[in-house]
Every structure is written in structure tokens, then in C-alpha cells.
């Protein structure tokens, strides 16, 4: 496979595309779009944890800022959909550049905590800055037309755009992982001193991976704000950083399809448990416990292990 897909992954990819095509007929399109946005977000996060071994606890900052920026430029400046989403990604990447530069000097749990602390500063900025609308958020953001001409008012039109963005991001991540650059990243994950002794400028590699991850997280957040028509503090606060960790763990860390499946699972839990009121948090908690005890590799990881495939 020229694109770096193994046979099993190619089959899985075809299945994924097929699911994306039929999904709007099976589930509510807005729910499907939300899952795609979170799927991209979790895949971006997985690029760091799964392939470089860096646990970021502050990815909400890039996701949330992406959402705010896209919502702001679409509502106030009237930018078209693709520009708004790219602007969100660009700001996410920029914040990632600064934070990544500070954070990659630290190892292990301290890396995780410094990303968390930096992200909380972004959260604080968002509560204080006037353009975010504080607790109310940026509301009633119009769905900007694609290229300024193609209307996105119809859920299905927007769905195909979001699906396109998701697939592009997903394939980009896959391509990065299987490029020579990605091989170096994995070498860093396995044995950093060895990678250094082989002459790689490890910090540069880590930083680039961090920026790419933050950029894609920003894109995902921007896409989400277009889907729902608002951007609020929920997306930039620390529980969101935690949720993306949970999604990736549920699906399977270091598997290319895992984060997407995890996002689907997580979204389904949030949405379909909602009618059970009181029991939402209890069931969520029970599922996380079950996940750690019974299938630690995550759904896709366990499946791949059972079938002896790399998915």
C-alpha cells in the first residue's frame, strides 16, 4: 500500500468510510458530526500520546481556542466556512507552538502537568476576554457558506464538509505516523536517549508533533463550533482535556482507528444516557472502571490483539 496502510488497516479504512457514508441515515446527523469532530480531536491527541509518548492534559486549550476563533471570525467578520475553520486551526497551532516550546523541556508527569497549567491559563483568558462572551459564550454563530457560496444551512451539506475535514485530518495523521518523521517519533517514544545518541534533534521533532497535534485539535474545535453554532467555556476547560484522554483510552492508545471508535463510544454515552438523568455519571464511571479492569488496550487495541492485527 503506497499510503502506508497495511491490508487490515485498508479494510478498516474502507469500513470507516462506508460507516461515514451511511451514518446520517442511521443516526441523527448532528450527532454524527459531533462524533466526527471529537474523533478528529482524539486522533490529534493520540498523535502525541500514542506515537511520541507525550501525555498532554491541556488539549482543551487548542480545541477550545479553535472553536472560539472560528465562531468569532464567522460571526463578526463573516468569513466563509473553510477560512473560519482554518483560522481556528491556525490559532490552535500557534498556541500549541508556544505551549509546546515550554512544555517539551519537561518529562513524564511534569510534562502533563505543565500542559494542564498552561491550558488553564487559556481558560482564564477566555473567562476574562470580552470577545468570548464569558459564560454565555459566542452564541448564534451563523453557519458560514463554503467558499462563500455553497450554503451549509442544510445538515447534510454540512455533514459532508465535516466528513471531508475529518477524513483529511485522519489521513494526514496516518501519513505523518508512517512517514520517516513518524518513525523518528516512535523511536523517541521507545527510547529517547537512544534517539538523541543517534543524532536526532529530539526536541525539534517533539515540538513539530506537538504543533501538528494542536493544529488538528484547533481544526476539530473550529468544526464543532460550525456544527453547533456556538463556542463556550465548556470546550476550553480542563474536563474537556480529560474527556479526550478518556476517548483515546476507550478506543485504544496508539491505534490509528482507536480514537475514532472511542469518540463514538463517548459521544454515545453522553447522548444516549442523558434520558437516564441521575445515572449518567454513575454509568460513565462504571464504564471507565470496567475499561481499565477488563480491556485495557481499548476497544480497537483489544480487537487488534485478538485478531493479531495492527489497526
Amino acid at each position: 500500500m503506497s499510503f502506508g496502510f497495511s491490508r487490515a488497516q485498508a479494510v478498516a479504512l474502507v469500513a470507516l468510510v462506508a460507516v461515514i457514508i451511511v451514518a446520517p441515515g442511521l443516526v441523527y446527523p448532528v450527532f454524527a458530526m459531533k462524533v466526527l469532530c471529537f474523533g478528529l480531536f482524539a486522533s490529534a491527541f493520540n498523535l502525541l500520546i500514542g506515537y511520541v509518548g507525550l501525555l498532554s492534559l491541556g488539549h482543551a486549550a487548542y480545541f477550545g481556542m479553535g472553536g472560539y476563533v472560528a465562531a468569532y471570525v464567522a460571526k463578526t467578520w463573516g468569513l466563509s466556512a473553510e477560512l473560519a475553520i482554518l483560522a481556528g486551526g491556525a490559532v490552535g497551532g500557534l498556541v500549541g507552538l508556544v505551549f509546546g516550546w515550554l512544555a517539551i523541556r519537561r518529562q513524564g508527569i511534569y510534562f502533563a502537568m505543565i500542559t494542564l497549567a498552561l491550558a488553564q491559563m487559556i481558560y482564564f483568558f477566555c473567562t476574562q476576554a470580552s470577545f468570548t462572551g464569558g459564560e454565555d459564550g459566542i452564541q448564534q454563530v451563523p453557519r458560514a457558506p463554503l467558499f462563500g457560496v455553497v450554503s451549509m444551512q442544510d445538515d447534510m451539506a454540512l455533514y459532508w464538509l465535516i466528513a471531508g475535514i475529518f477524513l483529511a485530518g485522519f489521513l494526514l495523521i496516518h501519513r505523518i505516523v508512517h512517514s520517516p518523521f513518524g518513525q523518528v517519533l516512535k523511536a523517541i517514544r521507545e527510547n529517547e536517549p537512544r534517539a538523541i545518541s543517534l543524532g536526532y534533534r529530539v526536541d525539534d521533532y517533539k515540538l513539530l508533533a506537538f504543533v501538528l497535534s494542536a493544529f488538528l485539535a484547533g481544526i476539530a474545535g473550529a468544526a464543532k463550533s460550525q456544527v453547533f453554532g456556538f463556542a463556550t467555556l465548556t470546550d476550553v476547560d480542563w474536563p474537556m482535556s480529560g474527556e479526550v484522554v478518556l476517548m483515546t483510552l476507550l478506543g485504544g492508545i496508539g491505534t490509528i482507528f482507536g480514537p475514532v471508535v472511542g469518540a463514538l463510544m463517548f459521544g454515545a454515552l453522553e447522548t444516549y444516557l442523558a434520558p437516564f438523568g441521575d445515572w449518567v455519571t454513575v454509568s460513565q464511571g462504571a464504564i471507565f472502571i470496567l475499561c481499565v479492569i477488563a480491556f485495557r488496550r481499548g476497544i480497537v487495541g483489544e480487537l487488534g490483539n485478538r485478531l493479531r492485527l495492527v489497526l
Partner: protein
């Protein structure tokens, strides 16, 4: 009147004292977290939920059994500690040798279940727990009038921190504990039942959280969400102090309380964010926290 940056000095003294009270809580909670992390290598995200359980057990003892505050101060940590022992035996034990991430996820799941069940039972607006009679009333410090109860909180928390520190640093049990933190297989080879030590340590760390919960019950609203607000700050305290460092978490706890107290005077909006600012600065200057050793 003497002023510092436009604030009367007496007001600042008052705020420093209040910061000390909050610092006592941070120290007590992060101490438990640090003890658990040191030996189990588990980041106990259920700590906030167990803190809350401590407060609720105190309330339950009073409401259903008529057992008052002073007894609750001992009974509630024991009850919650036993619960922690069970939790360790049934769930956390299975995490040995795994990445931090799984411990985080598992204990986070536990916190969700515990908080959810408590909300189902007691609602979200909470229950009332009164200050014990002997500790009602004011204490005039000259520069401010501090409620007697807050003074007691500082004394009790400091005493408990000191006792824990002495236990770990100066006793034989503490020496075993520190050795097991260093190198568990070796200690096991010397005939120490390390798994039991681990279980008891978790129970003790949890009991510390519950103790803090009982102390907090008369001051704060006793409700199922009371711990989830604190957990991130406490978490930050442990990191700033240096993961697993007992002294680090105690010192940092009090220090953060005071810094937070001063922020509340000069820039109240930023009093939650200041913890993170401190964390970033400390981690940039000292890679493993104030008292931690580099990995």
C-alpha cells in the same frame, strides 16, 4: 494607616491568616495524595470524592446515630479508610506496574460513581452540619477576629501533617514505607508483606482525605460536588511540591494557600488561575517540583 499597594496592612494580615486556613486543607489533602503516589504510583483522582465522603459520614453519624463532631473526627476517617482499603483490594490492586494513565482513569471512574450515587441519595444542594459547640465564637487576634473554628482547623491540620511526617521520617514503619517506595521487590525479599503495606497506605491516605472532609464540614456546604472543585488545586500542590514528596506537599499546601489569599485581595478574579501560574513558573525553573528529585 499603613498600606501596601493601596491595601491596609491589617486587612492583609487578615487575608494571610485566612490563606493559612485554606493552605491547611491543601496541605492535608495533598499529603494523602503524595503518600499514595509515593508508594502506589497511582494518581488518586478519587481523593476529592473521598474527602466529600468524610464530610458526609460525619453528617450521617450525627444525624442517624447522634455521634458528634469530636468522635466523628476519628470515626469518619476510619470508616472511609476502610472503604479505601476495600477499593484498593478490589480495583486499584490490579493496576500494579501499569502506566499512570490507567490509575488516573480508574480512580476518576470511582470518583464519578461515588459522586453520582451520593447525588442520587442526598441531592446536590447538600446538607447542614453545624460548628461544634465548644468551637463556636470569635478569637480576637488583634488585627482581625478569627472564628475559633478556623483557628482549630489550622491547629488540627498542622498537627496531623506533622504527625504524618514524623511517622514517615522517624519511625521504623516509615522507614519500611520509604524503602518500599524506593525498591519494592527488595523490601519484599526482606520479608515485608508489601501488598499489605500498599493497601494500608492507600487506606491511610484516604483517611487523611476524610479527616480533611470532617474538618471542612462545618465551614463549607456539605454536598456531593464539594470535592471535585478542590481536586485540581490539590493535584497542582502535589506537583509543585514534587510528586511523592511529603515535606514538599505540606510546604506547598500552606504556601499556595497564602499566595491565593493575597491574590484574593489584589486581583480576586485571578485567584483560581494563580495556582497554575505558580505551577508553570516552578516547573520551568525546577523540572521536578520544589522538593522532588529529577526522574
Amino acid at each position: 494607616m499603613v498600606t501596601i499597594f493601596g491595601k491596609p496592612l491589617l486587612l492583609l494580615y487578615g487575608q494571610l491568616t485566612l490563606g493559612l486556613v485554606n493552605g491547611a486543607f491543601y496541605a492535608l489533602l495533598s499529603l494523602g495524595l503524595a503518600v499514595i503516589f509515593g508508594l502506589l504510583n497511582v494518581i488518586n483522582f478519587a481523593h476529592g470524592a473521598l474527602f466529600m465522603l468524610g464530610a458526609f459520614v460525619a453528617w450521617g453519624l450525627l444525624t442517624y446515630l447522634g455521634i458528634g463532631y469530636w468522635a466523628a473526627l476519628i470515626v469518619a476517617p476510619c470508616v472511609v479508610g476502610l472503604f479505601g482499603v476495600a477499593l484498593e483490594r478490589v480495583l486499584i490492586k490490579r493496576l500494579r506496574g501499569l502506566d499512570h494513565l490507567y490509575g488516573l482513569l480508574l480512580t476518576f471512574g470511582c470518583a464519578l460513581v461515588i459522586e453520582g450515587l451520593m447525588r442520587n441519595e442526598f441531592g446536590s444542594s447538600g446538607v447542614a452540619y453545624d460548628i461544634p459547640h465548644a468551637l463556636k465564637g470569635p478569637l480576637n487576634l488583634g488585627f482581625m477576629v478569627l472564628p475559633l473554628y478556623r483557628a482549630w482547623v489550622v491547629i488540627a491540620a498542622t498537627g496531623m501533617c506533622l504527625a504524618t511526617w514524623l511517622l514517615i521520617e522517624k519511625t521504623r514503619l516509615g522507614a519500611t514505607l520509604r524503602a518500599a517506595t524506593e525498591n519494592a521487590p527488595l523490601v519484599q525479599a526482606f520479608g515485608v508483606d508489601v501488598p499489605r503495606l500498599v493497601t494500608l497506605t492507600y487506606g491511610a491516605g484516604v483517611a487523611l482525605a476524610a479527616f480533611a472532609g470532617v474538618l471542612a464540614a462545618p465551614m463549607n456546604s456539605v454536598n456531593p460536588n464539594m470535592g471535585s472543585n478542590l481536586i485540581v488545586v490539590v493535584f497542582a500542590t502535589v506537583v509543585i511540591g514534587g510528586m511523592g514528596s511529603i515535606l514538599g506537599s505540606i510546604v506547598t499546601g500552606f504556601g499556595l494557600g497564602i499566595i491565593e489569599g493575597l491574590t484574593k485581595v489584589y486581583y480576586p478574579e485571578g485567584s483560581a488561575a494563580v495556582v497554575y501560574v505558580v505551577m508553570v513558573i516552578v516547573l520551568l525553573l525546577r523540572p521536578a517540583g520544589l522538593f522532588g528529585r529529577a526522574a
